[in-house]
Symmetry: C2
Subunit: 305 residues, 2 copies
């Protein structure tokens, strides 16, 4: 079962020739979730051979152009490609107001439905849920209402120890309960503890996307111990004043959050276009949190079970 | 004095990983004019090292997304870069209606003026003029109101034959008239014919952009004998029915127009994304008009004096 993140864009507001604005795809068992959709995202999807049709859910962190200017192009392309299935957009409620007139003008006869899911930018809240996964919106600290997104696999069933199931001759109807952690009580009233019948469940993986935001420890409980954290690092720490003023973080800020949240791995991105050499970002972050990697376009971060 | 066209995007509505939607830059003596602005144009400008600040005039052929979805990103970037000078947009009058709400939402405190110049989509009309250049909008035949654009250098002054000017001892005040073609009348009443005093002016160059359009001989008088014609060729001629139905041309159509208009050179572009191998387009066009070249991103077409 795959769980990976593909970076489509890693730059901040001003794109460069080599770095696109924010966009990435989370692949959970070949179902693709798009996070942010800066200008050029549809070209980046093609370049990275990600099948458009597998995207049914798009999460927009906030309504700054570098996070959503690519939406209208993608929506229009879906229409030209004959899309029929619903497209779900999770974003600030104002997205619908801004996007609707464009869609009405440019996408005549839209043949599929766009379903808006306004995010709550005040408290953590589950905005998406299916059999295997939840997505929680986490309010961030930026100049306008902004949400991060936490993708978390649901708890998985424990693994049955087949030899023990046979040994106690446990009927099939009990197995679901046992996988969920229940003990077994035999007809004679004997209690067999669950740990004798099962081994622990496979680890439930998690990924948190936190961009754009200034340094904010308020997010730490929500992202505690995630397998992978993407945290913006628009500036290096010599420009911490500009970072604060513009509602952004430095590489050091991102690393501090990763460290304090005890995450397993950190990706930093959303770089200001003033920086050509990005190695300075990892140099700065790794002093605090060694498991840091740069977001680079086309890079895929796999999260192992 | 440069006069060149740089291709930034050469594809039709569905961009591919290698081909962006419509955009190109006309460089006339280091003043840059942008024609069409599909999604990703600002990244293509950077990639091709074209200075943003040199663009003050943008010409939009029509309001299909693949020709204008890049506008909001470019306008926003100009604002972030601190632009102060006016930006002139030449397009169908509805552009203002569609673009204004986006600008108001995404570009707070726009620090420069956007000046809209609605195009007349009924008859040829000069929509831009400066000391050296005119731009004429040429109505095309597409599903919605669409204009091509003809860039033409103004007639240049004839070259003085210095030895003859000296020989007749012609006063400086007369030279402008003579460069403009006037004969010289000496104090004694002798008439010296202009052709004895001058050599012909340097050729005035011209470039016509015709996209999107189906085959239409109505444009031929306007583009007659231009140095360079860009004509859309969305399809190969086996799909001529689809071309007609969608208001587009085939490579053969484009070549026929080029041939009948006796242009010097033809560029074909706006390719449907269904075609991977574009050499078929030149094969088809060259049978009718040998001086055909493919539009490819980053390619610069120089027009010599």
């Amino acid at each position: 079962m795959s769980f990976s993140v593909t970076i489509l864009g890693c730059n901040s507001a001003l794109p460069t020739s080599a770095r696109h604005p924010a966009a990435q795809v989370v692949n959970v068992s070949e179902r693709y979730f798009l996070i942010d959709c800066g200008e050029g995202t549809q070209m980046q999807l093609r370049k990275n051979r990600i099948q458009f049709s597998k995207i049914n859910h798009i999460f927009i962190s906030h309504l700054h152009g570098d996070h959503c200017f690519g939406l209208i192009g993608l929506i229009s392309t879906y229409n030209l490609l004959g899309r029929k299935s619903d497209l779900h957009l999770y974003a600030h409620s104002e997205l619908e107001k801004v996007l609707t007139p464009q869609i009405e003008y440019f996408c005549t006869n839209l043949d599929y439905k766009i379903i808006y899911h306004p995010t709550n930018n005040v408290s953590n809240s589950v905005i998406y849920e299916d059999k295997h996964l939840t997505v929680t919106a986490i309010p961030l600290l930026h100049r306008i209402p902004t949400c991060g997104f936490l993708f978390r696999e649901k708890e998985k069933p424990r693994h049955l120890r087949k030899e023990m199931i046979d040994f106690y001759n446990i009927p099939i109807r009990e197995l679901q309960n046992i996988k969920a952690g229940a003990d077994f009580i035999s007809d004679s009233g004997e209690i067999v503890a669950n740990y004798r019948l099962t081994t622990p469940a496979t680890h439930s993986r998690s990924y948190a996307y936190c961009s754009d935001t200034e340094y904010s420890e308020a997010i730490i409980p929500a992202i505690k111990e995630v397998d992978l954290l993407y945290h913006e690092a628009t500036f290096l720490s010599d420009l911490v004043d500009i970072a604060k003023k513009t509602g952004h973080s430095t590489a050091e800020d991102a690393a501090c959050i990763a460290f304090k949240a005890s995450v397993k791995k950190l990706i930093i991105g959303h770089f200001s276009s003033r920086y050509k050499d990005l190695s300075q970002f990892t140099d700065e972050a790794k002093k605090i949190f060694p498991q840091t990697e740069l977001a680079r376009e086309g890079k895929i971060f796999d999260i192992m079970s």
